[in-house]
Amino acid sequence: MVNRILYEKAKINGCNMAVLKTLLYLFVYPGILFLFVYSTFCEWVDRKVYARLQNRYGPLHTGRAGILQPIADFIKLLSKEDIVPEKADKGMFSALPVFGLTIVTLVAMYLPLWHYSVGTVSFNSFPGDLIVVAYLLTLPTLIFFLAGWHSSNLFSTLGGARVLTMLFGYEVPLLLAVLSPAILADSWRLAEIANFYQARPLLLLVNIIGFFVALICLQAKLERVPFDIPHAETEIVGGTFTEYSGKKLAFFRLMADIEMVVGSGLIATVFMAGFPGGLIWGLINFIIKTLIIIFLLSVMRAVTSRIRIDQMVNFSWRWLAPLAVLQLLIVIILKGILK
């Protein structure tokens, strides 16, 4: 009888532990709290690198070396007046920033960080989650388009149209580039791909073309120079965000930051062997690998000028897509040889 009670208690404790672990996973790491802090940190790194490359200092005053500046900007934007244009679709206009933020935060759940095991399938790691992540990362683009469309502003509408046009340019090369390491690893599950390359790190060199294609596509997805066409300030004012202000704009900016983190997280998982080592080492791995990618993105942002929308689509289909296909061919041939 006593044994029975102890057994039940242990079971409940185990159950509680699992629930606690999942809650931690959802809300602390890599959940909302970590994403908020880390994405603002990444924005600071990005701003600092960009500024140093431009012979400026970048943020300096808030916190040590301006490290808290993105958080200060976020809080300040939250406190600003929030205007909804009269002609805008009020429901959609207000809901879209929240949707966007939710979606990009959700993507972080599927990155193989610590709450998974390669052997078992769980809610955040299952065969095909690569496709789910790629799909979820497409949604922010749609959100931007809808935000532009529902603002009912001429410049927003133009920006929205540009968002969609760009999507047709970079989405296919990105998917092809991300799929080739998956094909070599013979799995469409992020955890297994990462595991495969952890065991055979030399094979990572095979995917080097795909890595750069994915990097450029990520830059386009994040709408940063040279692909900041949808909100090109000197052409179409704020583009998609022309009418947004206050809290909604703050959410959109946070969303862009988190998208940068999860996007580089995806590339780090697929092309840089993921984040092995459990909680602590996994976290260090995650930070180092994503920072390398963010550094590369910042350099790309500093050394190029914005290109035109037609040039962008042209570039994607003339260079990125063929290079991604080439990567795919290399992987398929190599796989044949290895077998």
């Binding site: 431009q54 012979n55 133009l158 090109a232 000197t234 052409e235 914005r306």
Partner: protein, 401 residues
């Protein structure tokens, strides 16, 4: 997508001054373009009639904040012609030196703007950092960064000494290295070239027939420069070439400006090394006998023209300023047609517009009907008083929060 109109301006991030560009678009392609002026009338020409010649020297300097010396020097040369005054040679050298330093600062500023409009902010930051070198030199010479006030009838107002000469020579060396680097970027950085080349085409024939001036004209392969064609000050003895490009696009305009920078460094060095000894100015009369004159000057943006009519008193009867930007508007509309939306800021910025220099009149346009009319100021004032007394007071309005 059907054709629709996009208003660029009077308030727009790409425009630093108010002007209205009405674009008729078909998707991303511009079908038609129209310019509306008259947002920034300042009445400077009228003001000039109320002031004496020496006061007007400082007034004309304030026509523009970037090419301030261009207007002052153009006016000064015109009045000297009316006075039949031969300025001091050393004074002319100093004037020309400041004019060329101003050209350097204006072209560096333009390069930065071009970089910014093309979304290349790194280029913008670099050129504006280097512009500080020449701004400091101007401050060393004149004491000011914007309005140098170096011109006076009969010569220059301030002399330069050996230490200043040395600083100018050092500065030119720094800037020459930097400019060669930018020239290199201009012909190698692929995204920058992709944005600039083939944009805003203006053929040689169009440029001539639409009376384009300055780098816009020279980038279409027409070697026309007042400094060479009708030399003023000491340009007749200066070693320099008229820079042209035959690509007829925005890239050509950028290249022409960078080449002109290099020519300007050469000129500045020559001016400093061959500065003659002697007085910097001669005494000028206060009154000017009845006559009229047209003074031409090659400003950084193109040919600047002042018409001055004197009536024997110490005040001009009429001063007419034709700023280079005005001459380029017709060509701009031609350049904008059949371009992309993304190219609007670049094409418009490529003429280096200075809108408030060129504004001369106000037309009242009814916002509902589009009807244009003109009014005396007294009429306008009366109308506004009537409008506000008749207008019913708003009631029941609450503060939004």
């Amino acid at each position: 997508m059907a054709e629709f109109q996009v208003p660029i301006g009077p308030q727009h991030p790409a425009l630093k001054e108010p002007i209205s560009l009405r674009m008729t678009l078909d998707g991303e392609v511009i079908k038609d373009a129209d310019l509306k002026l008259g947002y920034n009338h300042r009445g400077i020409e009228k003001l000039a009639e109320e002031r004496n010649y020496i006061q007007n020297l400082y007034l004309t300097e304030r026509i523009c904040g970037i090419c301030s010396n261009s207007h002052a020097m153009c006016y000064c040369q015109g009045v000297e012609k009316l006075m039949e005054l031969e300025p001091a040679r050393r004074g002319l050298f100093i004037r020309t030196l400041v004019a060329e330093l101003e050209r350097i600062h204006s072209h560096l500023l333009w390069l930065g703007i071009a970089g910014h409009e093309a979304g290349f902010d790194t280029f913008f930051m670099y050129t504006w950092r280097d512009r500080e070198v020449v701004m400091d030199l101007l401050e060393i010479i004149s004491g000011n960064r914007v309005h140098y006030s170096i011109n006076t009838f009969g010569g220059a107002r301030r002399d330069i000494d050996d230490l200043q000469k040395q600083k100018i020579l050092d500065g030119m060396e720094v800037l020459r290295n930097r400019t060669n680097y930018y020239l290199n970027i201009g012909v190698t950085e692929p995204t920058f070239i992709a944005r600039l080349s083939g944009v805003g085409k203006l053929t040689k024939e169009q440029a001539v027939s639409l009376c384009a001036v300055g780098p816009t004209l020279r980038a279409s392969g027409v070697p026309r420069d007042v400094r060479k064609d009708d030399p003023y000050a000491v340009y007749a003895e200066l070693p320099f070439e008229v820079c042209t490009a035959d690509s007829c696009d925005v890239l050509g305009r950028a290249v022409v400006r960078i080449k002109e920078l290099i020519e300007s460094y050469k000129m500045c060095e020559y001016l400093v090394k061959n500065l003659p000894v002697g007085e910097i100015k001669v005494k000028a009369p206060r009154r000017v006998k009845e006559n009229e004159v047209i003074s031409r000057y090659e400003a950084p943006r193109g040919e600047n023209m002042h018409y001055i009519k004197s009536n024997g008193t110490d005040k001009p009867e009429r001063l007419k300023v034709r700023a280079p930007t005005l001459a380029n508007y017709a060509a701009t509309i031609e350049m904008l047609k059949h371009g992309f939306v993304a190219d609007i800021p670049l094409i418009f910025a490529a003429i280096d517009p200075c809108i408030c220099c060129a504004e001369r009149s106000v037309t009242l346009i009814d916002s509902k009907t589009g009807e244009e009319k003109r009014m005396f100021f007294s009429q306008l004032r009366k109308w506004s008083i009537e409008y506000y007394t008749k207008k019913p007071k708003l009631t029941g309005v609450t503060w939004p929060f």
